[in-house]
Amino acid sequence: MTSLLKANNLSKSYALENQTINVLKDISLSIKAAEFVAIMGKSGSGKSTLISILAGLDTTDFGQVFLDDKELTCLTEDELAVIRQTDISFVFQSFHLIPTLTVAENIGFPLKLSGSFSDEKVNSLLQKVELSHRKNSFPHQLSGGEKQRTAIARALITQPKILFADEPTGNLDEKNAQSIMQLLIDLQQEFKTALVVVTHDDSIAQLADRTIRIINGKIA
């Protein structure tokens, strides 16, 4: 199978009080379509920086990222935004739902951005994440698990090619974490979306097709 996402020789450093911290050092990797990849590493190892660069949310000092042969690292903010409308999605540890929108509005929002809004798609996703009864609730009225379900539904509504999840269960209890992770994997398989999960949790990594370990900014 050909690579969906490809990163070549990525390097990234930050200046901190006259000192340069090399966060990523010459990282190259590739992710296939519909593949589930776990990225693991200690705090400060550079894993979150890596997925931010892979997703086009951050820039590199050196190296390129390609999505379907399109180089993301040379695109403008707006060009990247258009790609995020359809091809790339995110799920975060802190959910990041829009507080002024209801559950249904949050889920349907990416469709409005890409101009392909449909109530059917929203309702279908609501059913899949078992939140139909909460469709008119606002984020502050939801439990942590419900918030993450909404975030997952929002991330998958455009059927993206790749979904990045940064510690998606970090804010949840064990029971909720398991159920959310299962939901994520089920939907990833249903939508044939590539899934890249940053995690500390070995049990999640065990569910992945493969695991990439980052130590001191390098792939181990």
Binding site: S48, T49, S52, L57, D58, E77, D78, A81, V82, I83, R84, Q85, T86, F90, F92, S94, H96, L97, I98, P99, T100, L101, F109, P110, K112, L113, S114, F117, R154
Partner: protein
């Protein structure tokens, strides 16, 4: 505070000016005034005084003219001792008095194209212009007055032939005396005065036009500024809240580490009170700049030779007001901190300030503070309460209006009435926590309402009375016309003039109640003890209609022993009288009791003559009287006509309606500008709230922007969202203000001025464009700020 300090400093400077120059402004230690020649007993006694210590002063309006030009002037004829106090400053420092010469103010020279040394005629006498007046000691304010000043020596007065022909001559005697002699002389002269109309006052008892201005206009401006201070107090609350919200985590950590909440509050208190103190120092500097470089703006209400300073007392007042206000606002805002539970903040469980109760006691304290501030300016509990309640009601109305508006928007959003998702999203953002949208809308709406009402009323008055003088209204008024001059005047002007007989009289009593007693019970519409102009006619004026009458359609009815009287409705309202009530007049010594047989209404207000009291011809025809005439003369003919009348009938004073309206406009414009400047300060209070709302919501806004960008929103759409939100907020605020201003102005102009509301569309369009541009600029600046904030930095901070 800078505005308050400036006004307080002006007020103090004016008070000091009056204290120091009271005798100069009044003219002497004792001043006697009358509207006709003084009785012999009084004159005999005054003539016994040292001639160097007494000034005889006659003032009246007359037309000064040259061969082909003329000008309305205010003549002042004085004896040699003038001025007793102060100095009459002349351009060439020439001697004051020379036979057959006059001193004139600059306007006379420019209007009549004359220079010093030229001649002009006043009445029947020709005068040489001896010098130009720069300042008069007893006329500190020159911004507004009918007639340019001409000063002549009293000995030349008789030769003008004007005294005796003029109906409105002010006779004054000014006396200089030592402090010891003042009271005995005052008592002695008072004893000689038998006529009620003659007024005798010491310098201390005399009101001056400048002290009235100080008490009225400056206090009015200060009340406007107090309203701005009240709005600023809300702005301060909003700043403190935004500032503390940004430091919420730090405070939670400080608290978790064991620092008492009261110590945290105290640290804020010290910080903000220090800032308030520094602000007053800055206000003092700003005020100093205004006083040094902006004195011109206050020319209408300040004497040209006044020395402006910022007294220590004003500075201390500003510090006290500022510290108390800031202290109260900090206390009210920081009460919430005492309820903060560090764990709730650090784990972002709930709004940490939501449990704080509304500090009603402290809000009441703040309200009392504002009330005391108003009271300190006007020294009347009743009026202070009225103003305070009016302000409060206005605030509540706007708060309610805003609430209804916000509720309507929310309802429209809930019902999906707005289909454009970007507009929906932007409107939803108005309800963002800490957005203070309602506060912003109500504050800006109130400011817009005040400024809008001033602009609309000013425009309506100008359009209908000043700029476009009513076409059917007379524009040329002739005073002191003798009955035997009527025919010749008509021939001179080539038209039949409208003549109105005028009989001067005072009101003695109304329904048997003496005027002195009534004065305390009636409103401020007029002074019942003044001299009134009565007239007689047997038909209604064309500009009036009957409101009610004893006999249908008739001005007068048979009333037995009493004479019938027709009264104007506005004055009937003031006197609180109706048909069949009685009014007793003192017409030059003769008492006439009249019964009200009809009440008239003016069809439209404007420059047409009207009389409060009209009697049947047979009642007043034989009374001593003068005639007042009106005419309609074209602009091109007016000066020539005025000159011709002055030459032929020197005793007649002509008033040019158009130029009086222009003069009035200049004066009103100066006052209006000051009002607008001080009202506009409240826009700063509104902007303060807007900016603090941006600060306190900046984190939320950045977070939202991040969400949108993460999901693929392009920067153009991000800008649209910000623009729609800001434009909606701004236009709601200005729209509500403009709407209320239009309604209010329509009510005021229709009911008070009898004028139609004329909307200045050019001003409305330009103002709207400026507001829209301003909101677009703010949106662009804000959007650039968001674009510069990197998504990844936000992620790291979260």
């Amino acid at each position: 505070m800078g505005a308050y300090l400036t006004l307080d400093a002006l007020q103090q400077s004016v008070d000091d000016y009056i204290d120091i120059n009271q005798k100069q402004i009044v003219g002497g230690d004792i001043v006697i005034t009358h509207n006709q020649a003084f009785p012999d007993e009084l004159m005999s006694r005054v003539q016994q005084l040292d001639t160097n210590q007494v000034v005889y002063d006659f003032q009246f309006n007359s037309i000064a003219y040259t061969q082909d030009n003329s000008l309305l002037t205010r003549i002042k004829a004085v004896s040699s001792a003038y001025p007793l106090y102060g100095e009459l400053i002349l351009k060439n420092n020439g001697s004051l008095w020379q036979q057959s010469s006059v001193l004139v103010e600059q306007q006379v020279l420019s209007s009549l194209n004359l220079t010093i040394g030229d001649t002009l005629k006043i009445g029947e006498k020709e005068f040489t212009i001896h010098d130009e007046i720069i300042t008069e000691p007893d006329r500190p304010l020159t911004a507004f007055g009918f007639g340019a000043r001409v000063i002549m020596h009293k000995s030349d007065l008789a030769a003008t032939g004007l005294v005796g022909k003029k109906s409105r001559v002010n006779y004054r005697i000014e006396i200089k005396t030592s402090t010891e002699e003042q009271q005995p002389l005052f008592d002695e002269l008072s004893a000689l005065i038998t006529h009620k109309e003659i007024q005798i006052k010491t310098a201390e008892q005399s009101n001056t036009s400048i002290s009235n201005l100080s008490q009225n206009f400056l206090v009015f401006l200060k009340l406007l500024v107090i309203a701005v201070i009240a709005l600023s107090a809300i702005g301060i609350m909003s700043i403190v809240r935004a500032f503390v919200a940004k430091q919420q985590n730090t405070n939670a950590v400080r608290s978790a580490l064991g620092e008492k909440n009261s110590d945290i509050v105290q640290s804020y208190r010290v910080l903000f009170l220090s800032m308030a103190f520094i602000s007053v120092i800055l206000a003092w500097l700003a005020s100093l700049l205004v006083i040094v470089f902006g004195k011109e703006a206050f020319l209408a209400i300040l004497p040209s030779d006044i020395v402006l300073t910022i007294p220590l007392l004003s500075f201390l007042k500003a510090i006290i007001i500022s510290l108390i206000m800031t202290g109260l606002m900090i206390h009210i805002t920081l009460i919430g901190i005492k309820h903060i539970k560090p764990v709730a903040v650090l784990h972002k469980h709930q709004n940490p300030q939501s449990k704080a109760k509304t500090p009603w006691i402290w809000l009441l304290g703040s309200a009392i503070g504002i009330l005391l501030l108003v009271y300190s300016e006007i020294n009347s509990i009743k009026l202070s309460l009225q103003i305070f309640i009016a302000l409060l009601v206005m605030w509540l109305c706007f708060a309610l209006f805003t609430k209804v508006l916000m509720w309507t928007i929310k309802w429209m959003l809930d019902k999906n009435i707005i289909h454009n998702w970007k507009t929906t999203l932007a409107l939803q953002n108005i309800f963002r926590k800490n957005n203070q949208s309602a506060l912003f809308i109500s504050t800006i709406a109130m400011t817009t309402m005040v400024l809008g009402t001033i602009t609309l009323l000013d425009n309506s008055i100008q359009q209908q009375l000043i700029s476009t003088y009513p076409e059917d209204a007379p524009n040329f008024f002739l005073l002191d016309v003798q009955t035997n001059q009527q025919q010749e005047l008509d021939e001179l002007l080539g038209q039949k003039l409208t003549y109105y007989p005028v009989v001067r009289a005072r009101i003695k009593s109304v329904n048997g109640i003496e005027t002195a007693e009534l004065k305390t019970k009636l409103g401020r519409y007029d002074n019942i003890e003044r001299m009134y102009n009565l007239s007689y006619a047997n038909a209604l004026l064309p500009t009036e209609e009957l409101d009610t009458s004893l006999e249908s359609g008739q001005l007068f009815a048979d009333t037995g022993d009493e004479v019938p009287l027709s009264l104007l409705s506005s004055f009937a309202e003031f006197l609180q009288v109706d048909l069949d009530d009685t009014v007793t007049f003192n017409i030059q010594g003769i008492s006439i009791k009249a019964k009200i047989t009809s009440i008239r209404k003016r069809l439209k207000r404007g420059p047409s003559p009207f009389f409060y009291f009209i009697f049947p011809s047979e009642v007043l025809a034989e009374a001593p009287q003068i005639r007042f005439a009106t005419a309609k003369v074209s602009d091109s003919q007016r000066v020539a006509m005025q000159t011709q009348i002055a030459k032929t009938f020197p005793g007649i004073t002509t008033l040019d309606g158009g130029s009086i309206a222009k003069k009035l406009k200049e004066f009103v414009d100066q006052l209006k500008q000051l009002v607008q400047i001080f009202t506009a300060l409240s826009i700063f209070a509104g902007l303060l709230i807007f900016i603090t709302s941006l600060i306190s919501t900046s984190q939320d806004r950045l977070r939202e922007s991040f969400y949108y960008r993460m999901m693929g929103m392009v920067s153009k759409d991000l800008f649209k969202l910000t623009l729609i939100e800001f434009l909606s907020l701004g236009l709601f605020a200005f729209g509500v203000g403009a709407l209320v201003a239009t309604l209010l102005s329509a009510i005021i102009s229709n009911n008070w001025f009898n004028l139609d509301l004329v909307i200045p569309w050019s001003v409305v369009i330009v103002s709207s464009l400026i507001i829209i541009m301003l909101l677009i600029v703010i949106s662009v600046i804000y959007n650039n700020h968001v674009k510069r904030s990197k998504v990844i930095e936000f992620l790291a901070s979260e």
